[in-house]
């Protein structure tokens, strides 16, 4: 058991190291460097020299990678070229806003999706299942920016219930953010719910066909109790990892949704940084997203350990 947990942590650490290396290498592979890419045709003379000195580009790549990783571990993500400030001064509020958006969406979507998935799986091929599965198909396939646009048209333009885009001054409190996140949360949750629901449904259908569920029926266990005690825990084990993987959709979706609603989060920050060719900023945000993602996967792995006695006792 402890070795198993260690192993999961080990893999998470390996992944973060790997991802950061790939990100760093990708930037290294570009013709020129961070400064020439940022300054474009002004990349010459003292301006370029100042930039190179400030970014420490005169040092060997390996040293810079080490510094970057060590810095990131302490919350120092480098220096933004465009904003001329340390990156971490710029990101924390954005991080809070994104965490608020993603967190609420996840908290809303995951329990609801699990519930709907179980409902659909238990009533396989009946009207409830068919309509839920059909809705999930639509939610999965229609791009977020389309859904978002439709919602804006209905709720912001026609009904005028919510603002179409986020208009807050920097430093707005969580409370001030709330009315602005209703529509983004709906868009994000819809996709999440669709994906997770499908997985849970498939897993439930699988378990419902198992010998032990048949046995429970023949033991005289009432259907509700069968679902609660025998089906759900077993169906959740394979679904957990998939839920974690759909968080990738959430993170990718966050970027699009933030852009649609002009929401001041990490996603819009990253897109702006790409427009500005501010590579240190892009790297920093991408790394933060990756760390979040790996952490979520780690959490799912640990939850699977709790749920599945087979994993727990054997140490596979």
């Amino acid at each position: 058991m402890p070795t198993l947990i260690l192993r999961r942590f080990g893999f998470a650490a390996f992944t973060i190291a790997f991802v950061s290396l790939v990100m760093f290498a990708a930037v290294e592979a570009l013709p020129g460097n961070v400064c020439t890419s940022f300054l474009q045709r002004f990349a010459q003379g003292p301006r370029l020299e100042r930039c190179i000195e400030q970014q420490g580009l005169d040092r060997p790549a390996l040293v810079r990678y080490g510094d970057w990783v060590a810095g990131a571990a302490q919350g120092d993500f480098g220096y933004s070229l465009k904003k001329r400030k340390p990156v971490n001064e710029l990101i924390w509020e954005r991080f809070r806003n994104t965490a608020l958006l993603g967190g609420i969406a996840a908290l809303l979507a995951i329990p609801l999706a699990i519930f709907l998935g179980i409902a659909a799986g238990v009533r396989r091929d009946r009207p409830v299942d068919l309509s839920l599965s059909g809705a999930a198909m639509l939610a999965m396939t229609i791009p977020e920016f389309v859904t978002a646009t439709a919602l804006i048209y209905v709720f912001a333009i026609l009904l005028q219930w919510f603002p179409a885009v986020t208009i807050v001054s920097p430093g707005a409190s969580v409370l001030q953010m709330l009315p602005n996140i209703v529509l983004p949360v709906i868009v994000l949750s819809a996709v999440l719910i669709a994906h997770i629901m499908r997985m849970v449904r498939a897993s439930v259908i699988d378990v419902m066909a198992s010998d032990y569920v048949q046995m429970a029926r023949l033991k005289g266990v009432p259907e509700r109790q069968i679902i609660r005690k025998h089906v759900v825990p077993n169906a959740m084990i394979p679904a957990l990892n998939v839920i974690a993987l759909t968080i990738a959709w959430l993170l990718a979706g966050v970027v699009v949704v933030e852009k649609v609603f002009n929401y001041p989060g990490l996603g819009t920050l990253m897109i702006q940084a790409i427009y500005d060719r501010d590579l240190p900023m892009v790297q920093a945000v991408a790394l933060i997203f990756s760390v979040i993602y790996v952490a979520v996967n780690l959490l799912a792995d640990l939850a699977a350990l709790v749920l599945d006695p087979r994993l727990r006792r054997k140490g596979h």
């Binding site: 066909a209 429970a216 005289g220 006695p309």
Partner: protein, 627 residues
Amino acid sequence: MTKSLINIEDLSVGFIAKGGLPTPVLRQVSLELVAGETLGIVGESGSGKSTVALAMMGYLKPGLSLFGGRAVFDGNDMFALSEKKRAKLRGSSIALIPQNAGQALTPTLTIGDQIDEALQLHTDLSGAERAAKVVELLNRVRLPEPAEIAKRYPHELSGGQQQRAAVAMALAGNAKALLLDEPTTGLDVTTQAHILEFLRELAREMGVAMVYVSHDMGVIARVADRVAVMYSGEIVEEGPTRRVLREPRHEYTKNLLAAIPRLDAPNKRPNLRPDAQQTLKLDDVAISYHKPGLLDRLLRRPAKRPNVEHVSLGLKRGQTIGLVGESGSGKSTILRAIAGLVEAQGGEIALAGDQALTAPVGRRDRETLRRVQMIFQNADASLNPRQTIGEILEAPLRLYYGKKGKQAEGKAAELLGAVRLPAEYLRRFPSQLSGGEKQRVGIARAFAANPEVTLCDEITSALDVSVQATALELLSRLQQENGSSYVFVSHDLAVVRAVSDWVAVLYQGRLCEVGPVEKVYANPFHPYTRLLMGAVLRPDPDAVPEILNEVDLKVQECGYSKLWAEIDMERTKSKQPLQHDLGDGHVVYFNMSPESVAQMRVKGRDPAAGSNSVPRSSADRVLEPAE
């Protein structure tokens, strides 16, 4: 006359096939069962025997529906009852003991929780009383340390223990009738024997009625008072077990009984030719699946005991050696090592002309590969579903003989003919063939290479008895025609006796006893061989399996003789075991002093009782010089 407990009247069950055609699975089945009686339902796969049993609980597998008739249990028409009342009866008055307990127990709940669930539903006991009852039930099914077992999860129990836990769960509601759906299929013979004896006793003790579903006449003969023989959804014959087994009336029953290989049937194989050339030799072979990892080497962990070790065997041209043993005995591992699928770590494997077979497949030359062929257990899985039978048979022809096109096709058709299949099968896909036909294609593929040694891995264990008989006959005929030698792995001692000249008994990767079939079966020496043979069930109502008594069972499920075998292994750990030649090639690997031998034959095992036992004098005589 006593009132019947279960009454099935004209029951018809089936499904609606594509196109709306009603397809029956059971046709007008009628059965009756009185309290305290044990009814056996026997039949081959697809006969509908499990469907009948489950119908007694008012349960039909998903997809099936009731076409007509009734299933009455204890005065209740099970299909007419409300869902609630039916649930009340299920698990209390009538309980199921499933085929595969490992899969029928919910993996995320402990054994105790699952039994407790049944108690909660069917009794009024308080929490503390239930906890005590769980332990009592587990104790009743004779599981060691019941309190401890209650806290375990299903995967932490052995197959036999899982089955016992399932029985405990079935007993939770004071059942009047127990349905047993092949409860011992998939268990080792010795475990099966114990479970069956235990069930017999249970039925007697508690006076419950039992419905015992099985494909195995031997099992039915042991447990059932009455037997119903089923064939394609109908009961073809029903009567007292003794009468049905001794004087079968229906043609199907007669054929079924005739097809079962008998442990005591004299071997009809041609005489051994002592001058025949040696084709395969294994000398002190050791095989290990466990490769030491980097971590093991760093920590200097001691190497694990090999999965197979100290195996020495010889096989002559045109002869068959049977490898028998229970799961974990290493019999299939040895086969895979000969085939080159796993590498032998030690010892030597060689073909005739001292062609070494120690190298794995990738390092063998084509000619060596050709000389050794393998036939697989599950014909269904051993044929590529995406290739036609023609393509399957042409693969070895192309590889070994470079045959292509018309030439290969002609040869493939010839091979099909040899296994008695028509040439038009060449264009068919495996899914269009029956199980027996698929296995014959598997045999034809092996013979396409014209091998010197053919490795048969449990090749009939997935087949019905009647199909098995045809496949075994085919193998014998092919052997006489082209003189290939067979290594025949099986868990079924009767089958091995029918097809082999030699037999090797294995236990946990070690040889216990090797010898000519007639000698070993008539005079098994090693305690493990005797245990194994004693546990075999025969389709004979008077045969009593020689198994262990209650006291020994409590020591450990596997019993004392197995224990002795283990102690024996332990003493010789990684040493060459002592070897005793009993003459005519009958060799026993055993490390005991005469005193231990005396101790070995303890209470309840009078050596004179069964024809299987070794006379005391001969055992003493042989073992004396060893110490």
